[in-house]
């Protein structure tokens, strides 16, 4: 096939990009070369629209061992232990084929983690679907959950936490973000930077098939009516092979045979080989006839673009080939020497003894286009003035029941029951808490992790929204007694070629950066998913933050369930009653305008540290952060989980109980305090000068507030626990 501009455009390249390729190469590329360019220059692999802004992120910190740019980020958790973690999107494939799309998303992120020498110890996911009323939602949700479970359960890594939301903006583009944490000895971390000349390049894992060709390009484009035709671009996962690959790689990593290792993810062999060579400032020569193929007569073009799963590329020390092969033979995996490192600084491909491609590496990596796309600032919306009459007809207890059974608040047990969350025997906080917690095997330490996003806030005002999610993640970790250490982010946005969408991206990143800097909560890894758009309708901006924290003694972990009658309940942090963008405003007043709650980073940090201090001193016995749905929603969850009631005090100076109970002001926690600790707690709260309200006392089996609320916990639990199950069964 002759390569023309039209062929290039078919490969997802822009006209100008194609001219630039010809100019750089000083000739027209052949089809295989064009395919390699298209794979490396697409948005998914090149970050061409985002790179300029990502550079500004706060990525350094005392505990950061490896920031963005590697397969995953790495943080130090003491005693030579390190945690490797990253979140990644698999949005486009999951909409086309939910089971395989979600499954391979989980497989891909786990490979990113064990590529670095870490054994995966926990999975999380953040999944977002269209309106519950939309005809596709139910099946997409079912497929995605089965896919995530099917893969993670088989590998034997617990899925410890997650987030599920519904919003009509995801009707045509669901989001599936998967996160993995792995544990590694900090002196035994493996990187993707090749080094040394003439070193053997090894292919291990599954055979290469025709699945997933153009996957990365597909993920770099918007959807139209013909998306069904894109099914073949979705990869097919085999968790069993991945389990073998995991064990084999970790076995080989026990000694010093590996120089560099990279998993074949997006854009398969192309991107893995180019990245290893590029980082090592080397060339690489691959003999494609040696690549183990699943199907007959695969062309170099297909081999280079295949996104078949469960494959790794390794640069090995010379002389270690036999040793390595033995290990992969033991695990029944393919092992092939397919090339070597060179000093040409080019990627050279041989097939049937002929050279079929030759491209200088820097053209694919450093010289890939970078765009400074135009973007538009989002103005902070005017704060709404709620008319007091609007509240008159509302009964507090009805409002509460409605909010607890809201699709975005209700418990997601139907989902997490399908994930193995206890395998590996170290899960000490299961899904449904503020964060999932796993012990660091054989130590007193535990690692907490949570995933968060707030698309409504980000849509209303991206800068505030960006800050807010980082704070929310920070709070979720503190709520389980963990010191927040670092984050990974998955930036899901619409079409960057539109000024509004690009603006949302830029300002969310700005918000994330500001908050993570202030809270000393650096970003160590992440990915960007643009073009979440169907027929011109984009998603609400949905950056997802995966936060990781450390509990130095897991016996001090906190949970949110109320423990003992007679204990006092405080809200720490000030409640102004911000209802704009709240779930209350949406659900009960049908009001979608207004700004998100203000984020005050000083308060977040100060109050967070206060709560952490209380938990370290064992002065509180349960804790939950106040977020979506406000104080009353948070309280109800604590009651439902603990099967205990609360008697709420008559609060002095309360002007509007709706604002107080359902406002979504930030930087607040609810804590349960045994009477014996009360004095010490008050002293600490005063020492940090934080505001707190004495909310009530754990008591009986009902939530009681003056004459307004008297609801048995069981009734609340019914409203809260079964929405999703009923929805899925209907």
């Amino acid at each position: 096939m002759e390569v023309t501009e039209a062929v290039a455009i078919d490969h997802g390249l822009k006209k100008e990009e194609f001219s630039k390729i010809c100019e750089l190469l000083k000739r027209t590329p052949n089809l295989t070369e064009l395919a390699i360019f298209s794979a490396m220059w697409n948005e998914h692999c090149s970050y061409k629209s985002s790179r300029k802004h990502l550079k500004k992120m706060h990525t350094k910190g005392k505990q950061v061992i490896q920031g963005p740019g590697e397969n995953a980020g790495v943080i130090d958790i003491g005693d030579d232990d390190a945690i490797v973690f990253k979140i990644e999107s698999h949005n486009h494939p999951s909409f086309i084929e939910p089971y395989q799309g979600a499954a391979t998303g989980v497989g891909g992120i786990m490979r990113d983690v064990f590529t670095m020498g870490a054994r995966p110890i926990a999975n999380l996911n953040s999944i977002h679907f269209g309106s519950p009323q939309h005809k596709k939602t139910r099946n997409l949700l079912r497929g995605v959950v089965k896919g995530i479970g099917g893969y993670g359960n088989c590998i034997g890594v617990p899925t410890i936490a997650g987030q599920t939301t519904f919003d009509e903006s995801y009707n045509g583009n669901i989001l599936v973000n998967a996160m993995t944490l792995g544990l590694v000895n900090k002196n035994k971390i493996f990187y993707s930077k090749a080094a040394g000349l003439d070193k053997p390049v090894i292919y291990v894992g599954s055979k290469t098939g025709r699945d997933g060709i153009h996957g990365a390009s597909m993920a770099s484009a918007t959807f139209d009516d013909k998306i069904e035709e894109k099914k073949p671009t979705v990869q097919v996962g085999d968790p069993f092979t991945e389990k073998l690959l995991l064990e084999a790689c970790l076995e080989l990593m026990a000694d010093n045979s590996i120089i560099a290792i990279q998993d074949m993810g997006a854009a398969g062999l192309t991107s893995s080989s180019v990245e290893m060579a590029s980082k090592g400032n080397l060339g690489i020569e691959l003999n494609l006839s040696e690549v183990p193929c699943r199907e007959e007569k695969m062309s170099p073009y297909e081999i280079m673009l295949s996104e078949s799963q469960e494959r790794m590329l390794i640069v090995l020390e010379k002389g270690k080939e036999e040793h390595a092969k033995k290990i992969f033979d033991k695990w029944n995996l393919d092992f092939a020497i397919i090339g070597k490192t060179t000093n040409s600084k080019k990627i050279e491909l041989i097939f049937d003894n002929k050279k079929v491609a030759e491209i200088p590496i820097d053209l694919l990596a450093e010289n890939a286009p970078i765009y400074d796309r135009p973007w538009k600032k989002t103005k902070l919306p005017q704060k709404l003035k709620f008319d007091k009459d609007e509240f008159k007809s509302l009964k507090l207890s009805d409002c509460l029941k409605k909010i607890l059974s809201n699709s975005n608040i209700s418990e997601k047990k139907w989902i997490w029951d399908q994930y193995d969350h206890t395998v590996m025997g170290d899960t000490i906080q299961k899904p449904g808490g503020d964060a999932g917690v796993v012990r660091v095997h054989g130590t007193n330490k535990a690692v907490a992790a949570s995933v968060d996003s707030s698309a409504l806030y980000c849509f209303s005002h991206p800068l505030t929204g960006g800050k807010q999610i980082v704070c929310e993640s920070y709070r979720n970790l503190i709520s389980v007694g963990a010191k927040p250490i670092a984050i990974t982010n998955c930036l899901n946005f619409g079409n960057p070629e539109k000024e509004k969408n690009m603006g949302e991206f830029v300002e969310c990143v700005e918000g994330i950066t500001e908050a993570s800097k202030y809270l000393d909560f650096p970003v160590v890894s992440g990915n960007v998913s643009f073009y979440n758009e169907t027929k011109d309708k984009g998603i609400k901006p949905t950056p997802t933050i995966g936060g990781v924290g450390l509990i130095s003694d897991y016996q001090r972990m906190l949970t949110m369930d109320f423990k003992t009658d007679g204990n006092l309940v405080y809200v720490i942090g000030k409640t102004d009653g911000h209802l704009d963008q709240s779930i209350f405003a949406r659900e009960l007043l049908n009001e979608k305008k207004g700004p998100p709650p203000t984020v005050n980073l000083f308060n977040e940090k100060n109050i967070g540290e206060t709560v952490l201090d209380l938990s370290r001193k064992n002065l509180i016995v349960s804790c939950h952060d106040v977020s979506l749905g406000g104080i009353l929603t948070a309280l109800s969850k604590m009651c439902i989980k603990g099967k205990k009631g609360i008697k709420i005090n008559s609060l002095k100076g309360l002007t509007n109980k709706y604002e107080y109970f359902f406002g979504e002001d930030q930087a607040r926690y609810i804590v349960e305090i045994p009477k014996a600790s009360l004095k010490k707690v008050n002293d600490i709260l005063n020492k940090y000068s934080v505001h707190f309200d004495e909310l009530g006392t754990v008591n009986g089996q009902s939530i009681v507030y003056k004459d307004d609320i008297n609801l048995p916990i069981e009734e609340l639990a019914d409203a809260h626990k079964y929405w999703l199950k009923k929805y899925m069964d209907s």
Binding site: C154, G156, L244, D417, M424, G425, I428
Partner: protein
Amino acid sequence: MRSSVIIFPGSNCDRDMDVALKKFGFKNQMVWHNDQSIPKSDLIVLPGGFSYGDYLRCGSIASKSKIIKSVIDFANSGGLVLGICNGFQILTETGLLNGILQQNKFLNFICCNVFVKVKDKQNKYFKDLKKDVLELHIAHNEGNYFCSDDELKSLEDNNQIAVTYCGKDGTENEKTNPNGAIKNIAGIFNKNKNVLGMMPHPERMIDKYLSGEDGSLFFKNILDNFK
């Protein structure tokens, strides 16, 4: 007491089982599926997971693996063989235990705590166990036990039903049956009661920070009965 845990490719509860056994004082060793023989043991454990990817049928390929002949010989000579989850599936595939494990009734993988009633204490696993109802944990997609009427009758007649799903107070009914298993069966013995297969994972319930501690009772009881 010496134990051996067999690792098949795709096993994923092998380490958890090793940790649990050692915690309670078993001298445990790991045995690779391709090994010819099993070191001298008093107990052999087939752990949970997805042996050979559970392709074809859960446990079917493992039941033809190299090591399995030694396991069968050991069982036939009266040795204790314990199969948990996928291990239970493998034991039914080898024929050491009757019946089959089908997909769960509601077609979903299910991971949660369950209560099981100990139906028989005349065996080396449950003899003198202090509790009649244990809180254990399940995590499976194919745990729906089924067998023919004749097989069921024979299981009942010989007291081969080991544990059944029940409520906290021991009631057995449809509501307390998580996967649709016939007669709420969660685990069974062979005729000699030296081979036990069960879906619940005792190894995930061995300290108070996990889902519970009743798994500890199970392991301690095996040791106590061995002494």
